[in-house]
C-alpha cells in the first residue's frame, strides 16, 4: 500500500462519497434520480454490453467438470491428510522412543539416581587392600573374573603373578537396576594343573549400593551368604544414620566357593565396584615345603646320629641341634599352614552403602510406592528434558520456516502485482 492509498484510507472527499453512493444505487438497479445517476447507468449498461460472454464450449466443459468434481481433469494420488488425531499415535511413539533413548543414555552415563557406575573386575598383583584402595588396574565390566594361571613349574612362578581375565559377566544394557549378572567362574578358573597344583591366594573387593532402609537387610544377607558357603565373617563394622549408612565386612570363604559367594553377594544390591585380585603363592608354598622336608630329613639324621653317639659331648651337641631343628620344623609348619590357609580361604572385603535414590533388587525388598514415585518423577524429569531439548531445536527451526513462508508469500504477491502493472 503506497502513500496515496494510505491517504485514501483516512480522507475522502464528500463529492467522492456522493458519486460512489450514486454508483452503488445504479448498480443496485435503482432508477436514476439525477444527471449523474443517468450517466452512470448508461456507462454501466454500455460496459456490461462489452462484457465478453463465456464461450459455449468452455461452459459445457466447466459444467461437466463441476458435475464430476473435476475428477477427469486431474487425478492425483492424494496422501492421507495429516490430522492431529492421526499424528497423535505417531508422536506418542516418537516421544516414547526419545524417552527410552534418554533414559538409556542416562543409565549408561551413570547420571540416573538409580543407576550405578558398575562393576569393575580388577585384576592386578596388588594385595586386596591395595587393590581396594587404588583400583587403578581395573578393567571393564564385561571383562570376566580372573582365571587362575597355570605355570610350568614352581621355579618359574612368581608370588605376585597376575592372572588374566576372561569375559563371563555382562551388564544388562539399560536395565533400571544396573546390576550385573551373577558372577560365574569360567571353567578354567577352577582348573589347575593336575601335575602341579597351583596355590593361589585370592581376594575380592566388592562394593554394594542399596536403597535407604535396606542396610540391615543387606548386612544380614552378607552374613547369611558367607555362612552358606562355609565361610565366616572375620571383621565387620556397620555405621547407620537414619535410613542411610554403610557397612564394611571382611569375609573369609573357601576359595572353591569364592565364585559362588561373589555371585550371591552381588544380588544383595547394586554392584558399584568389584575388584578381584589373585596372588600365586605356589613358589612360597613349595619352598617352605621343601625346607620342611629338609628339616625332617635333618631331624631323622640327627636322631639316628644321636643313637650312635658315644661321648657325652656328642650327645649334648646332637640334642642341641635336634632342639634347633624342632624349632625350625615348627616354624616351617606354621608357615606352611598359613600359606595353605591363604590358598584355601579367600578374603572378600564387602562395603555396603545405603543411599537415597537407589532401588535395591529383589533380594532385599520389593518395589515400594516410594520407589514408584521416585521413578515416576524421574520419568517426568526425562520427559521434560526431552520436551525442552526438542523445543530448543524446533522453535528456532519453526521461526525460520515461518519467516521463509511469510517472505515467500510476500514475494509472490509482489511479483503478481508487478505482473499486473506491466501487463
Amino acid at each position: 500500500m503506497n502513500r496515496r492509498d494510505r491517504n485514501d484510507d483516512v480522507t475522502r472527499d464528500p463529492r467522492v462519497e456522493a458519486e460512489l453512493a450514486a454508483l452503488e444505487a445504479v448498480l443496485a438497479g435503482d432508477p436514476p434520480t439525477g444527471e449523474l445517476e443517468a450517466e452512470l447507468a448508461a456507462l454501466v449498461r454500455e460496459v456490461r454490453e462489452e462484457t465478453p460472454s463465456m464461450p459455449l464450449a468452455l461452459r459445457e466443459r466447466l459444467d461437466r467438470s463441476v458435475a464430476d468434481g473435476f475428477a477427469a481433469r486431474r487425478r492425483r494420488v492424494r496422501l492421507p491428510k495429516l490430522t492431529l488425531g492421526r499424528m497423535l499415535p505417531v508422536l506418542g511413539g516418537l516421544a516414547a522412543v526419545l524417552i527410552a533413548v534418554v533414559v538409556a543414555a542416562g543409565q549408561l552415563s551413570g547420571g540416573g539416581s538409580d543407576s550405578s557406575k558398575i562393576d569393575v573386575f580388577s585384576q592386578n598383583s596388588a594385595s586386596p587392600s591395595e587393590s581396594a584402595a587404588g583400583g587403578s588396574a581395573s578393567i571393564a565390566t564385561d571383562e570376566g573374573p580372573p582365571e587362575l594361571q597355570k605355570r610350568p613349574g614352581p621355579g618359574a612362578a612368581s608370588d605376585s603373578a597376575a592372572a588374566t581375565a576372561t569375559p563371563s559377566a555382562k551388564v544388562p544394557q539399560g536395565s533400571s537396576g544396573g546390576t550385573i549378572e551373577p558372577y560365574s567362574a569360567s571353567p578354567s578358573a577352577k582348573t589347575q594343573s593336575l601335575a602341579q597344583p597351583r596355590k593361589v591366594e585370592r581376594a575380592v573387593d566388592l562394593s554394594l549400593r542399596v536403597g535407604p532402609g535396606k542396610l540391615q537387610d543387606a548386612s544380614d544377607g552378607v552374613v547369611r551368604v558367607t555362612q552358606g558357603v562355609g565361610g565366616y565373617v572375620q571383621d565387620s563394622q556397620v555405621s547407620a544414620q537414619g535410613s542411610t549408612g554403610s557397612a564394611d565386612f571382611t569375609l573369609r570363604v573357601p576359595t572353591a566357593k569364592l565364585d559362588e559367594a561373589i555371585a550371591k553377594l552381588s544380588k544383595l544390591g547394586h554392584v558399584s565396584t568389584l575388584n578381584q585380585s589373585s596372588k600365586d603363592i605356589t613358589a612360597s608354598f613349595t619352598s617352605v615345603g621343601e625346607k620342611l622336608s629338609d628339616a625332617r630329613a635333618e631331624r631323622k639324621a640327627l636322631v639316628s646320629a644321636l643313637g650312635k653317639a658315644q661321648t657325652s659331648g656328642e650327645i649334648a651337641s646332637l640334642r642341641e641341634r635336634i632342639r634347633a631343628n624342632r624349632s625350625e620344623l615348627a616354624a616351617l609348619k606354621g608357615q606352611l599352614n598359613r600359606l595353605r590357609g591363604k590358598a584355601d580361604q579367600a578374603t572378600i572385603l564387602v562395603t555396603v552403602e545405603s543411599q537415597r535414590g537407589v532401588v535395591t533388587p529383589g533380594a532385599t525388598g520389593g518395589w515400594t510406592p516410594g520407589d514408584a514415585a521416585r521413578d515416576a518423577l524421574r520419568v517426568l524429569e526425562v520427559a521434560a528434558g526431552v520436551v525442552i531439548v526438542a523445543a530448543a531445536a524446533l522453535v528456532p527451526l519453526g521461526i525460520v520456516v515461518l519467516l521463509a513462508v511469510l517472505i515467500g508469500r510476500s514475494t509472490r504477491r509482489r511479483r503478481r502485482e508487478h505482473a499486473l502493472d506491466t501487463a
Binding site: 483516512v10 456507462l43 460496459v47 454490453e49 464461450p55 467438470s65 503478481r416 499486473l420 506491466t422
Partner: protein, 175 residues
C-alpha cells in the same frame, strides 16, 4: 446473491459449501473479469477453468469469516490470472502472441450506438490494468467495495476510492 451463497456455506468455517451454486452464479462474470485481466480470450478460458478447479479443490479451506464466497473465488481467479501474466511475460521474448482483436481493438461501427460501443471499448482498453480490473469487478461482477477490498487485499475505504478513481477515468475517456 452473495448473501444467499454465504448462507449456503455452513456456519463452520471448515464446512463444505455449495460449490455448484457458486459456479452457476459467477461463471460468466468471472470469465469477463479474467478477460479484462489477461486480455486474451483463449488464455482467459484456461485461467477461468483453472480458477474453478482450484476453488473446488480448496473449497473446504474456505473461511466465511474472511469474506464471501464470491470474494474468495475472485481472489483465486485473480491470482491465477496474474500467474498467467507472469508466465506470459517470461515467454514473451520467445513467443509473441497477436493481440486479441475482440478485446484489444475497438470495433468500427457505422451507427451512433456502434460508435458509442467503440468509444467505451476503446476507453476500457486505454485504462490502466488496475483501473480496468476495478471496472470489471464493479461493473461486470457487481462486487461490493468490501468484496473488492478482499480480492485486492486493501481496505474497504481504499477500495472505494480506487473504484471512484477508475470510474472517473472511464467517464472522462468516454466523454
Amino acid at each position: 446473491m452473495s448473501e444467499t451463497l454465504t448462507m449456503a456455506f455452513a456456519p463452520s468455517h471448515t464446512a463444505t459449501f455449495e460449490f455448484e451454486a457458486l459456479y452457476r452464479s459467477c461463471a460468466d462474470e468471472l470469465y469477463g473479469y479474467v478477460v479484462s485481466l489477461v486480455r486474451d480470450r483463449a488464455a482467459a478460458e484456461d485461467v477461468t477453468a483453472l480458477a474453478f478447479e482450484r476453488a473446488y479443490r480448496r473449497r473446504r479451506r474456505f473461511d466465511p469469516r474472511k469474506g464471501t464466497p464470491r470474494q474468495w473465488l475472485y481472489a483465486i481467479a485473480r491470482n491465477a490470472a496474474l500467474d498467467e501474466l507472469r508466465r506470459r511475460k517470461r515467454t514473451e521474448s520467445l513467443l509473441v502472441d497477436p493481440a486479441d482483436p475482440d478485446v484489444a481493438e475497438p470495433f468500427a461501427g457505422e451507427d451512433d450506438d456502434a460508435d458509442r460501443r467503440a468509444t467505451v471499448r476503446a476507453a476500457l482498453a486505454g485504462l490502466e490494468p488496475r483501473d480496468r480490473e476495478l471496472i470489471s469487478l464493479k461493473f461486470h461482477a457487481g462486487l461490493t467495495n468490501a468484496e473488492i477490498a478482499g480480492v485486492l487485499g486493501v481496505s474497504e475505504s481504499n477500495a472505494g476510492t480506487r473504484v471512484h478513481r477508475a470510474v472517473t477515468k472511464l467517464r472522462e475517456a468516454c466523454s
